[in-house]
Amino acid sequence: MKKQIQLVSIALFAFCMSVIAQENAGLKLPEGFKANLYANNIGGARHIAITKSGVVFAKLNNPNKEGNAIIRLEDANNDGVADKINGFAKFSGTGIFVKGNSLYASSNEAVFKYELNSKDEVVNPLTPLTIVSGLLDRRQHNSKSITFDMANNIYVNIGAYSNACQEKDRTPGSQGMMPCPILDSAGGIWKFDGTKENQTYKDGKRYATGLRNVLGLDWNTETNKLYVAQHGRDQLNSFYPNLYTDAQNAELPAETFYEINEGDNAGWPYVYYDPSQHKKIVSPEYGGDSKKEGSAEFKEPAVAFPAHMAPMAVLFYTGNQFPAKYKNGAFISFHGSWNRAPLPQEGFFVAFIPFKNGKATGEWEIFANGFAGTENGAKVTNTGKAKARPCGLAQGLDGSIYVSDDNKGAIFKISYSK
């Protein structure tokens, strides 16, 4: 009898613990915030976008089990959980954006446009218009993230198909090419007319260059400026063990966040940003020795984040639900590093970048953590073991934010109440 009571109480305790563990869908949030699972297991979800009626569209990295690569999610009964879920499109890719009654989505070489009806259903799921095509896809850094300005221009990331523009990519001892020939057609942000069909490179304009790979980009509507987050280079220690230890590689270079003006050059592949020296340092492939400072012509980052965390999306918060400090600041998701190994990985969280008078203060703080689902918030050692990896960000009609996971495809909804 005693034993039975013991067993029952153990079971009860375990049950309570599991309920507590799932509180806020397993996320750790600032005071007053709560989170729930809006959807789960829809397939590795990259960027997400929300329509004027609150329908969520998620771009999957690859088609899911049902063969769909864009998923439409609707919370018809308004309980915070998607109850109408269906999908269409077969192409792999990352970018998705809602502009008025149009839904834009990108494959790894093109941007397509779909029409939405009054219920925000896609009218032409099989026959989208092709806005841009023929963009370079050489596997490495091939995702084409997209955003719009306040007019009808679309900004497309074309990532560099290389680590550091060596003659032979990722090969020890191979020199950096001078000038880097990749930059004429990749390694930057291209601007196109979002309303015109069938554009290619020649119809667009290189808006910014020297950006190795940008997954997260968003337009700051308060200051009318583009902001981008770059994935910094890898493997300094693998190729230059005499210049960089494993521990130094784990902290170099910073993941950088830039305010972009037309014509800016952020300096890839010639320089990288060293967050402890607060300097742009010449890349070792271009004669650097880990100390030599790079040219002043290259852009300074607005914020420098720890290395290799992989910034995936940027979202300027324009809602009124969250406390005042979040207004017109930026959320940024990090789906987590791999290149810090053999040291523990970092990232797997959503951070917040405070803005003051339209400028980033240079500070940042963790906003939502715990996506990786490790025991007691322990660090991830092997990236493949992280449960969820935060990727896409979007703001809901009520001012909540949604965070997608590009591992299994959870979507978290984060809200605030006093």
Binding site: R139, P342, T383
Partner: protein
């Protein structure tokens, strides 16, 4: 009759002892190879394929449990290690976007060691890779290239 059986057993003992020494030696060599392979893995491969061999989703494929890694096409594996790998291919049904680093400076015995290590680590239980298999693979590759 008695003598005969003694010679047989002495003979048998020597044979047994030799076999035993041989087995211990090969085991020891295998262990040495695996230790060496582990060292190479940690300095050159771990960063991408991770310490649990689980890889990085969409970027670097897992080596643990991978069909090709445990498979019979040793020549393909040898050439991947030596020349790197950057092709649009599905590995166990998944695509990976990163480009694998070449190892032009890895000697034949080192390639054998690191492949033996990855084929016998985590849940992998495939045969060891010998230096002669590595040599044959590299020769064949050269012939194809010409």
């Amino acid at each position: 009759m008695k003598n005969f059986s003694i010679t047989v057993s002495i003979n048998g003992f020597i044979k047994f002892a030799l076999l035993f020494c041989f087995l211990v030696l090969t085991q020891w060599c295998n262990a040495q190879n695996k230790i060496n392979g582990k060292k190479i893995f940690e300095t050159r491969c771990l960063v991408c394929h991770q310490s649990d061999g689980g890889g990085v989703p969409n970027m670097n494929p897992p080596l643990d449990g991978a069909t090709n890694v445990n498979g019979k096409d040793i020549a393909r594996l040898v050439n991947i290690i030596r020349n790197g790998y950057d092709e649009r291919v599905a590995l166990d049904g998944m695509y990976y976007n990163n480009a694998m680093t070449a190892n032009p400076d890895l000697k034949e015995d080192a390639i054998a060691d690191v492949l033996t290590y990855v084929r016998n680590s985590w849940s992998n239980k495939a045969g060891a890779v010998t230096i002669s298999q590595v040599k044959a693979a590299l020769l064949k590759n050269k012939a194809v290239k010409k």
